[in-house]
Symmetry: C2
Subunit: 635 residues, 2 copies
């Protein structure tokens, strides 16, 4: 039995940690991103007036940025009226409609810059990727507002794409160099019920990596040697082999997660177990061996992606915000597939850390890369400081983090025939139908700052069903009460299963112990040997220079040092900080401070260590940052 | 007063550590290198018969490889007759003579492959570099054998080069992209007394980096954009600015050290203090901030050279054998310039570690790069194992290490008016003239395995002079006796100064305490935070997988763990090993061994640690290697 995510329309986030962030997206981020889209000419490009020699030449990615902004705005509009925002959305949609070609094609770059090159370089270019994001935006916009203005545009475009691509003799046998349209077509299929979109998505997924290799043929058709592909290997875009033969997370990380998200949709729809097995295999490889403790993925800048097992350097690396978002999307689908909380754990790890770090506390600047150690004077920082920026030359991350946070409600709950699942904890309410009863559910919590979760369950009539509460992977001790009485429910696949005849007004209290934990990485992760990270609940912590001074690697944390956590309402928008006694090493004064190598060990003096949530770093005075602290092994 | 190195002719290495290595070079390495030169076609190329389509196309570096082999062979022949070797040398010289063009030019590549391109790309190509090595070989050959066969060839070539290059209107204002000829011309000048060679060397050194920049002009003349230089910056070849403005060690490390060696010769000859100051500045930067504990230099593979201060990664990096040799050459000249033992300390550090690691114990295989940490499955090792090889596509290192070891005698001693300096300790004898007296000096020692050095001083007649004994930088406790009686000589610039009226048969005993030392790097060296290296005397130690198992980074060394050293005559040709009690970390068995991140710290169990000299690693069973061990800070 498949567990279906509870759609956004049925869930309201109300205050709390995520309510605050949704307000920020609405009030600060969406206007800031919209302003950037105007400044950069993203909207202007859709007027198709660009001529050689003019500024703001349309960029191959631009539609995707605008699409994600529309998608994010739609999620906001789904929850509250905002006529000004709605007007901006309508204007953007009008521009998109105006840029659509008679045959349905829609891409400013290939319409005005290289009109004769349409579909000629799927490997490197992004027409289908942009189309995918536009489709997602169209679905979100329709679902949020009931308006079909963008949906109609995208149905025409999708129909055109469906004519162009496919197994037919007169069709192109290609597939996108940057995956995304696969999962978008699945969404469009779910909305419309039109099987063509499902089949086309399936074609793109199944055709990928088949021989003869489409990108070889395409390169030759352009008069290029396929071997001159600048990323060297088709692992870069996961077309190195057909998807059922994939065993490891390889190549560009965003590409990989979007592909696997779409492929998991496919496995869910078809029940294809060989595909599901391949997806589980790749997910295991990724989560066990190629993921940072923050849920960041992709440890190399060169390919914006994966390298090899346990290669997770902290001060180089990449960990693109969008890749963590892609991981979140994929893991949500794996959670639907297997109902196993470990996928929800990964979602949570990425959400509170690798994703949330991507946006500043004022909602107006963004990290594209999310390193776990930043130090002045290193390879990464000596030429330019490492800070969030208001925009990037390729600016996928700002609107991506916007749409995720704005739509977060749809990831919190799921429902089956006689089951309500609570995947994630956030102050919220949900409306669903279970065991034939309309049930409303409200969740009160101060998560992630404490582990106290209060649920109120209101079936219209008393009914037997299961309320499944995720027991987070980080939680080592917990207690459950139902209507104030201790309960000892079984745990299955990481969920506490509370099955009973629920009465209107029943309350469940889940208490998750949330001590400060020291995290230790797998021994094969070279970068973290002799190091520990601090975690409390789902939140990974870091040291920041502004609190702890420079050279954070001079700080060592004795294993028995007590660490305490307390909430500081006025710090960084309100965060729980961790403090404790540590040691700081330095060269003793009698040693020549210039000498490269000496026989005298560093001296240690006591210091007070202060750690803040990783996501909140770089919101104050500029300085160094460190997640993995030096640990003193038990000697 | 300048201190002059005692020339090779006056010094004999007799047995001991270096006698064994010189025998190895003579009996194993020179034949092995000669065989490779034949196999690769290096000699054949000099017959100038190559035509397009034939195998073994002459390579732009090849004369330099052969030159260094001739130079090394000459040093051997200087000390002992070997008619077969001498015949090989004569044959090689005949080939070189036969390849010389009527105008004196000598380079097989530019004679047969691109005959119209002579001198057209000084920036990237190696004609002047090869000429430099051939000049060094010619000088060594003449001094060793008295034969002028190669010298005459090279005088003709040098005269031709002197016509082509220089400040004159009809001369080229260029200089070598790979420095080397500067120091070679200084040697040729010292041998011949011909001022032209001195002036030409000076021109190459002084012209370097002047504006308008020669490499810009030269690139444009080739129809290239100077900005397309593949190394991006002229720091690569130290022509980023004129030499007196140099402040840091930058670019390709071998290039840098060869340039500065030649420039130090220039400063010594001219007494130019502004040049000397620049050289001291760069040397300080290099030695304090850009040198591995092994004396290896050049921490990036991309430029085979320097990066930025304190960037000394152990498992990537480069540390080319030839760069450590170049450092040795340069520091020997700085030692002449300032008479300060710290330069001799650097020579010694490089010699026993970064250089000697470059050659296997059987003398027949070589490291080009000398990493300080090798682990299977890393960026550096996952595609190809990391081992010494019998040859390289660019094979500068094997003949370079040969010529250094074969000529080591000339680096041991120096003499001034009334002073004998002992820079380095090795079983040897020397003949010199000091204070008007012929003095013979013999040194008996088992260095580097113990710090016991016995000198016997034999002036023809009793005479007052100073015997200066270097107090190595690594030595923290020592004792001196003269004829069995304790002495307390002053220490100046790192030398024990024993001034007295020396009688024939006087003996000096220097005892250098040689405990196992733990080395700690400068706190800014990120790669070595929380780590210590083991050193005994001048020898840096490492752990090898064959002795200590895999995953050497799982081993932690408590700071109070006693370490003992003992000599093992049957191990690795006879080495002192270090052993001690350490701890090995592992995941406790109750922890999921696949999980990326856990809250349970590694458990420690006691292990016996066994360290061998770094230079001797990779001579047994293949495995990992580690110099900088994890250290348990005093908690």
């Amino acid at each position: 039995m498949t567990i279906e995510a509870l759609p956004l329309s049925n869930v309201d986030i109300q205050g709390g940690f995520w309510g605050q962030y949704q307000k920020l997206i609405h009030e600060a981020t969406l206007p800031a991103v919209h302003e950037q889209l105007e400044i950069r000419g993203t909207m202007e490009a859709l007027k198709l007036n660009w001529k050689p020699g003019m500024p703001n030449k349309p960029h191959i990615y631009w539609e995707s940025d605008l699409a994600k902004w529309i998608e994010a705005a739609s999620y906001v509009l789904a929850k509250q009226p905002d006529p000004a925002l709605e007007q901006q959305v309508d204007e953007a949609i009008a521009l998109l409609a105006g840029a659509q070609q008679p045959d349905g094609y829609l891409n400013a770059y290939y319409t005005v810059v290289e009109p004769d090159k349409r579909w000629s370089n799927l490997r490197d270019q992004h027409e289908l990727y942009c189309a995918g994001h536009l489709i997602e935006a169209a679905v979100a916009h329709y679902e949020a507002t009931g308006k079909d203005s963008l949906l109609n545009v995208m149905l025409r475009y999708a129909d055109y794409i469906d004519q162009v691509f496919g197994p037919g003799e007169n069709q192109m046998h290609g597939y996108p160099g940057h995956e995304e349209i696969e999962l978008a077509l699945m969404r469009l299929h779910r909305l419309t019920g039109d099987e063509r979109y499902f089949k086309l998505s399936q074609y793109f997924i199944e055709q990928r990596g088949q021989q003869p290799h489409y990108y070889d043929q395409e390169a030759r058709a352009r008069g290029e040697d396929p071997a001159s592909f600048r990323h060297g290997t088709y692992e870069y875009n996961q077309s190195h082999r057909p998807i059922r033969e994939h065993t490891e997370a390889v190549g560009h990380a965003v590409r990989a997660t979007y592909l696997y998200a779409g492929a998991t949709d496919l496995a869910l729809a078809t029940g294809d177990e060989t595909l599901a097995q391949a997806l589980r295999r790749v997910a295991d490889n990724l989560v066990q061996r190629r993921m940072y403790v923050t849920g960041g993925i992709g440890s190399a800048r060169a390919n914006e992606g994966f390298t090899f097992d346990y290669d997770l350097p902290n001060d180089t690396g990449y960990a693109e915000t969008c890749a963590a978002i892609g991981l979140f999307f994929w893991m949500h689908r794996m959670l639907r597939l297997d109902g196993d909380s470990r996928y929800a754990d990964v979602m949570e790890r990425a959400l509170y850390n690798g994703i949330l770090a991507g946006i500043s506390l004022d909602g107006k600047s963004f990290f594209y890369e999310n390193l776990l150690a930043v130090k002045r004077g290193t390879e990464r920082t000596r030429f330019s400081p490492y800070h969030r920026q208001s925009w990037f030359s390729v600016s996928c991350c700002p609107p991506n983090v916007s749409r995720l946070i704005a739509s977060l409600g749809q990831y919190l709950y799921a429902q089956g025939e006689a089951e309500v699942m609570v995947h994630h904890y956030a102050a919220s309410s949900a409306r669903l139908e279970v065991a034939g009863q309309a049930v409303s559910l409200s969740q009160q919590t101060n998560y992630p700052w404490d582990g106290e979760i209060n649920l109120r369950i209101e079936p219209q009539q008393p009914a037997v069903f299961t309320v499944s509460l995720r027991l987070p992977g980080w939680c080592r001790s917990y207690a459950v009460t139902i209507n104030g009485e201790a309960a000892a429910p079984p745990v299955e696949r990481g969920y506490l299963r509370l099955e009973r005849k629920w009465q209107p007004g029943d309350t469940v209290r889940l208490h998750l112990d949330m001590p400060v934990e020291r995290v230790y990485a797998h021994p094969e992760v070279r970068a973290n040997k002799g190091r520990t990270a601090l975690q409390r609940g789902p939140v990974i912590y870091c040291l920041e220079g502004v609190d702890n001074g420079p050279d954070l690697d001079a700080i060592v944390l004795p294993r028995n040092a007590p660490l305490e956590a307390h909430f500081e309402p006025d710090l960084l928008g309100g965060v729980t900080v961790i403090e404790g006694d540590a040691l700081r090493e330095s060269r003793p004064p009698e040693v020549d401070q210039d000498e490269a190598y000496v026989f005298v060990p560093p001296a240690c003096h006591p210091v007070r260590l202060r750690a803040i949530p990783y996501y909140a770093w770089d919101n104050r005075e500029s300085g160094d940052m460190l997640v993995w602290l030096r640990d003193i092994p038990a000697g």
